[in-house]
Symmetry: C2
Subunit: 434 residues, 2 copies
């Protein structure tokens, strides 16, 4: 039994590529600014502004938690199909802040609208764009239950608006992606380019995550921007069709934040012909590229999971149905025992069996196949007679591990991604606040 080295290298290469500095450039219709309001007390950038001078169509997906942050409540009551700006702050989640939190966002929306409108009226800009308070989206991430620092932020709004860069380069994007971080160790960026019809369009994305989801500190935020001209409905459909296999397929510790937010913006600056239907064949390639951006950002979040040393891909195939495959995948992905075994580079397939069993989903043991990478361990429900723990042991030393489970009882497939569970996770999460 030979190891398929090529497969491993592919996985490794994919990861290395992800960690590369991403060469994002300019997207027409967006201005960006990121500065410090000194919320952390150490001068790091912590407030970020995206300004869409001619507006952007958009679609959002928010956390499924029954308790949501005040900024999300604010966003949910906006009725405009076009937004002019997105404001993001870190350090404070604006959750469990009640009236103070909600009113703070109202106040910031008014102040931002005033400052942005003022800027547009100045001679050197001269667009005379008018920004209304209900054309601004808000994202927050940080500690739950602390008074929202509205004054500190407000004092910096003029500087933030004054710092808007109309022409971006990779440094502007990295500055923004860095300013939205909390416990993240690296900024997360991804981009793709493709054609819609004859026109070149861009898809850029930034995200933050890390302790997926350390609710007193981290949250999953992701913002994707395109210069293609797509309606809010098309944007929404595209998110819905691709989120389950990307941002919803990842888990670091099974916890969910009160602040999770994913928004997809279309500046419409590229005049692709009107696309009215999600099934329009001109969207096929665009959707593929969008999926790449979403998966790329998702995997960057996992790779940067608190204390994570290894990426773990859990591939369930031929389960009874899609939901069953998904449940088995997450039963494995959320098991502390599997995640600690991966950290210990232990090919502990017994724990995989345990996690399949505890999922409660139908299993026909006699049909079950389990592989670590390409290495067959369980074949038709029995330990593969050619199983050589030493070879599998070697595989476990790679920085990206695949667990492949073939249920062979149906048509349901699902891939989940997670990271290993190391002592550093415990360190980060026991020592954070104190």
């Amino acid at each position: 039994m030979a190891i398929n080295i090529k497969n491993f290298l592919n996985v490794k290469n994919k990861l290395s590529k992800m960690r590369d500095f991403q060469d994002l450039g300019h997207i027409e219709g967006i201005s960006i600014s990121a500065i410090t309001a000194d919320l952390y007390g150490d001068g790091r950038d912590d407030i970020t502004l995206f300004y869409f001078s001619e507006g952007a169509k958009y679609a959002s997906v928010y956390t499924k938690s029954k308790i949501v942050s005040e900024n999300i409540k604010f966003n949910l009551q906006l009725k405009n199909k076009l937004v002019k700006a997105l404001f993001i702050n870190t350090k404070n989640a604006n959750t469990f802040t009640g009236k103070q939190g909600f009113e703070s966002i109202r106040e910031l929306s008014k102040y931002l609208s005033k400052e942005l409108t003022l800027r547009a009226s100045r001679a050197e800009v001269g667009t005379n764009d008018v920004v209304k308070p209900n054309q601004i989206l808000f994202a927050s991430t940080g500690v739950i239950g602390e008074t929202y620092p509205v004054e500190k932020i407000k004092n910096k709004i003029p500087d933030l608006v004054a710092s808007l860069k109309t022409v971006q380069n990779k440094y502007v994007w990295v500055k923004a992606a860095s300013a939205i971080k909390t416990t993240d160790t690296i900024p997360k960026l991804a981009f793709e380019e493709c054609k819609i019809g004859e026109k070149n369009v861009k898809i850029y994305g930034i995200a933050k995550g890390s302790g997926m989801i350390a609710p007193n500190m981290a949250t999953m935020l992701a913002f994707i921007f395109t210069d293609a001209d797509l309606s809010a409905n098309i944007l929404k459909s595209l998110l819905k069709r691709n989120i389950d296999s990307t941002f919803n397929a990842i888990t670091v510790d099974g916890d969910t934040s009160t602040n999770d937010m994913l928004t997809f913006f279309s500046t419409g600056k590229v005049n692709n012909s009107n696309i009215e239907n999600i099934l329009d064949p001109r969207l096929i390639n665009f959707e593929k590229k969008l999926h790449n951006v979403m998966l790329n950002l998702s995997l960057q979040i996992i790779k940067d999971g608190e204390g994570a040393k290894k990426l773990l891909k859990i591939n369930i195939s031929k389960a009874q149905n899609y939901q069953s495959a998904r449940k088995i995948a997450f039963s494995i992905a959320n098991s502390p025992l599997i995640k600690t075994a991966i950290a210990g580079e232990d090919p502990n397939w017994g724990r995989v069996i345990m996690a399949i069993g505890k999922s409660g989903e139908n299993v026909n043991v006699k049909k079950l196949n389990i592989k670590f990478g390409e290495l067959s361990i369980i074949k038709n429900g029995e330990l593969n007679s050619e199983y050589d723990e030493k070879i599998v042991q070697e595989y476990m030393e790679w920085d990206s591990i695949e667990i492949n489970v073939e249920m062979n009882i149906g048509e349901g497939n699902y891939i989940a991604y997670t990271c290993d569970f190391t002592k550093d996770y415990i360190d980060i999460n026991t020592d954070y606040r104190t």
Copy 2:
């Protein structure tokens, strides 16, 4: 705001009491033996036998995992209402061992029946009891997927049977409770005595757990014995009525074993008058005492959770309904972020909010109260103005922490128990096999 020290001391005392050496004595109708078959290679006791000379009525509850061990499959096909023996081995789970595993149990059951019958026929015993192979229950705990060591065990069966102690004292019980351990650091025993009608009866229990449930090593096994005369149906009902608030209320890491087994035996040696109905008032006190034994064993398992330093009691009251309360309790109890915060002695109530939110259960934030012990933190959905983090911080240093959540939207109550999540858990589970 003063700390209610008495409450804390109560919790502390309860724990200390639990850790005391339990003074179990003799139960009529049971003989016990525990010796080594050297399955670990270090000579520790690893096989245990309970023999009921005149049989025992019994009821069992097994793991809900879709993949179960071969010994459980064997037990499930027994049709007898009376068993004569219970055999337990540690080190090998007899799971994913297929035919070899199942046939091994068949072989052991025959051999045990022969040896036990032979013993009963000897002059010094002279009961002439006949034990049939289908009158023996089997429990296993240990590594999944390794060939079941049937020969090693079989060779020791004569010694095991020869070592049966007909009169027990606490040392016999502790020896048995120690022999069923895997990664447990202490043997787990509990007992109660009470009356049924005019007759004194005893309820004795032993258990093992630890890495609740580290499937390659640990499993929850619990065996409860009474000399009261109760039918299998009554025993079953008593287990069903009490398991949800005891063994099913505890979690160390949310994982579930393929081998979990709880069996309740009645030797019937005390001639209490016939009890035919679970609602018989003579059972009220007995059921309370049984609940104590089950809860006591459950909490000992939690306190001995892998790497655990603190016991965590999560008390959800007035949720929409019972199921909702249970789901919220486990959402908190299984959150790695909460368990690491407890390890760090961090009164991180934001993570409690997160876990309530992610449970998906109905919440009316404005009615929500959260207390750590008696210390009010959230009152009617807002941070209690008298909240003093320093005092709560002191509370977090205790070895037993209560998180009290009042939902105030219904009648559903549930209490779950767990332990903190320390670096030692990661150590134990990354280093175990390698």
